[in-house]
Amino acid sequence: MEDTTAIEHKHIPSYGNNILIWLTLLSLTCVTVAVAGLDLGPYILLTAMVVAAIKSALVINVFMHIKFDDPIFKLFFTVVIITLFVLFTITAFDVLYR
């Protein structure tokens, strides 16, 4: 267990991969702007949030390497996101039912 100081990389850093992700991100941005132009009524927010979630998932997984890193980070991150999500939901219980 000596090698834990420097992070072993199961994955080899590459330019191409990141650029590919970047292109996807840009196209997703175009998609969400374009979709917002349509009149989707109540679904505007939904689509916008779904696209934003996909975009941030890409950034977190690839740019921030969470996909290639130790699973503990994934665990941490999930716990935090779930907590945040629950905070949103139960706050909404007040506002929605007033």
Partner: protein, 209 residues
């Protein structure tokens, strides 16, 4: 639990723990995430209460500039990660170039943001202005949120710029090297987080028409 169940044991000689630094950074990022999370809760509550007014007020915002800024920030995220890749591949010069590029893009973002704010302010829309006071409550809140959220985000960009500057200096002085790049990596993590926040801010403010 973590795969490194047994951490380097009490080795008095060993003070470098990259994994630990990264963990510390992630934990810090969680606090940032939740800091903004609090603001998003505020946003949610008011959006539920004033959804009409929000749609109306959002028309005042400039979609083109918002989209441009999104693209700029996404690109800066790319250059930031490429700086790390370059360093890992041992290409110090390229890494420095990418890092400078990142910072230029960040400054660009701030300049555009500045123009946007400036335009609003010259139209008399800023917290406490008489113009705003005459608007509906929901619109006051919308712009209150707009200024607080993008303002706090801009503050984070500025902090990010400072952190990136330190990384740059470290690379130049060879404190951050192809074998010891954790400082650049954590700085990058911070930068990507700022990007993620914007990914959510953008649709919530600009795509409401």
């Amino acid at each position: 639990m973590d795969t490194n169940q047994i951490a380097p044991a009490h080795a008095a000689t060993q003070h470098r723990d990259d994994f630990g630094s990264k963990m510390g950074m992630w934990l810090f990022l969680f606090t940032e995430l939740i800091l903004f999370g609090g603001l998003f809760i505020v946003y949610m509550v008011y959006r539920i209460q004033y959804s009409e007014a929000f749609h109306f007020a959002a028309k005042e915002l400039n979609l083109a500039l918002g989209t441009l800024n999104t693209i700029i920030l996404l690109t800066s995220s790319l250059t930031c990660v490429l700086a790390l890749v370059a360093l890992q591949k041992g290409n110090k010069a390229l890494s420095i170039i990418f890092l400078i590029l990142t910072k230029l893009l960040a400054v660009g973002f701030l300049v555009i943001k500045g123009f946007e704010w400036g335009a609003k302010i010259s139209h008399g829309i800023y917290p406490g202005s008489a113009e705003l006071a005459n608007k509906e409550n929901g619109e006051i809140i919308f712009f209150g949120l707009y200024y607080s959220m993008t303002g706090l985000h801009a503050l984070h960009i500025i902090i990010g710029l400072v952190i990136l500057s330190f990384s740059l200096v470290f690379i130049i002085r060879n404190k951050v090297t192809p074998t010891n790049y954790i400082k650049l990596e954590t700085a990058g993590l911070y930068w990507h987080l700022v990007d993620i926040i914007w990914i959510f801010l953008f649709p919530l403010f600009y795509l409401l028409h």
